[in-house]
Amino acid sequence: MTHPLKHDLNQPILDVAHVNFKFGEHVALDDITFHLHTGERVAVVGPNGAGKSTLFKVIAGILHADSGDVNVFGFESGKHDCIAYIPQRSVVDWHFPVNVFDVVMMGRTAMLKPFVIPGKQHQAAVRQALEKVGMQDLAARQISQLSGGQQQRMFIARALAQEANLMLMDEPLTGLDDPAQEDLLKLMEKLEQDKVTIMAATHDLDQAAQHFNRIFLLNRHLIRFGKAKDVLTAENLKIAYGGRLRLMEDGKSVMALDHSCCEGGEE
């Protein structure tokens, strides 16, 4: 690992204390405090406009909190390059003229020298990352030719190439068909071996309960953070979603649907 900022491994991978964030007058995050353990998978759940994307961007150091601290392994998050933010697929320009290998190599940009083509060591790291997500055969494919699940796995490979310890995924499961969702959830579980810590925003409460270690229920302030059975109570959900909550019981999954849940954009 060649991260410029050292890590104090005795400190939690992520420690967020009293973070506030406003867009103008609009309060997006209100006094958020929590910490994560290395290797755990956390589902971030809440209605649209709850501040999920904003929280991720503040953690990644892309946006700066108005007050409060975000520390990664004991040091301020804004200086680490070990945090990967995986965007919603709807905000990516899929016609950009790059292939899968190019995109995964982007994860290593901070380590690359000017002028030269990335050397063997970097090429090997990219191939290894592609293998990990099962996409070694698709390296030369143009990104517009990928399925939704493949697009998502490519970004995970990019985060692996970046040598990220913390992956923040903005609605990775939205818009994927069932098999693709299953594949992606399995892949996330597999990343635990590599001590990768994951926070993923999702609308599917049932999946959140089954496939994640803890659930983070957010609506501008942190309503509850813990095991599914403690978080996903009728009372907590009512606080989070208010009148907008509809529990869809189709025998398979429970979805928290608010009216605009499937438009794909928040904030």
Binding site: P87, P97, A110, Q162
Partner: protein, 284 residues
């Protein structure tokens, strides 16, 4: 027969102004095409068009001060282009209006100021048309050297920062989490576009500049899905357009800048038609 084709090709080259014009437009075409790839991918066509118009008052002042010497005009163009590029970049961030509205206001106002300044000179119609549409056949050896040096600066800078510029264009949030110097890279790109505009001024003029920045790159975008290849194909298309355009201009006596741009456009249209016919066939 072969002999007459040969003389058709060689004859224009017996003129020094044609030789210099050809070399100049090949150089400018290449630089515009390569940086044009970023302009097309980032949706900055309007910015490029605005920037080239915005430099007119600076060029006009240089023209009034120097009495029209080519050498000093370049420096005025370069200075104004860099200031305008960073200025427009700032306006579009700070303003409450939509970005294109504020750029539109600045661009038209500056352009009008430029025309007003130039119109104070009696012979203005001729000179103005050179600024607007270029004067590729009037390129001196001195400006050829300037074009060569500054064109090389742009290409070398793109080469050096290629990987970073690609990341910041494709996924600015990744650039931020990798702690790349995002602001520096964006400003660098603006400055490189500004240099390109200054270098191209005499070749295509301010009014047609956007065509050189956008059209060859757009043609190449239709042909390939890899960025380095897109840059190469854009450069080839621009160079071919320059050569063919200048011959067309020589034999049909039409304005050289517009001839080059028309050939660029023709390449684009043909490519687009061929690709959409192919697309239709393969989707059946």
């Amino acid at each position: 027969m072969i002999e007459s084709i040969w003389s058709w090709i060689v004859q224009p080259l017996t003129y020094g102004f044609m030789q210099r014009g050809l070399v100049a437009s090949i150089l400018v075409g290449t630089v515009c095409a390569v940086i044009g790839a970023f302009i097309v991918l980032r949706g900055m066509a309007f910015f490029g068009d605005a920037l080239s118009h915005t430099i007119l008052p600076g060029v006009a002042v240089g023209y009034l001060v120097s009495g029209g010497a080519q050498g000093s005009l370049f420096w005025w163009a370069l200075g104004t282009a860099i200031v305008s590029a960073l200025g427009i970049g700032m306006i579009s961030k700070k303003s409450q209006l939509r970005e294109d509205t504020s750029i539109g206001i600045v661009f038209a106002g500056m352009f009008a100021l430029g025309i007003a300044l130039i119109s104070t000179v009696r012979s203005y119609a001729v000179d103005l048309s050179h600024f607007l549409f270029g004067d590729v056949l009037g390129v001196s050896v001195q400006s050829l050297i300037t074009i060569l040096i500054f064109g090389a600066v742009v290409l070398v800078a793109i080469w050096a920062f290629y990987k970073q510029l690609v990341v910041v264009s494709f996924d600015p949030l990744l650039a931020a989490t990798l702690r790349l110097p995002v602001k520096f890279l964006n400003n660098l790109l603006l400055i490189l576009i500004a240099i390109t505009v200054a270098v191209s001024l005499q070749i295509v003029g301010v009014a047609l500049m956007v065509a050189m920045l956008v059209t060859p790159a757009a043609t190449a975008f239709l042909l390939t899905k890899r960025l380095p290849r897109m840059m190469l194909l854009a450069a080839i298309s621009a160079v071919l357009s320059s050569i063919i355009g200048l011959y067309v201009s020589f034999y049909l006596s039409i304005s050289s800048g517009s001839a080059v741009v028309l050939i660029c456009t023709l390449f684009f249209v043909v490519t687009w038609v061929v690709q959409s016919l192919r697309g239709k066939r393969s989707s059946r």
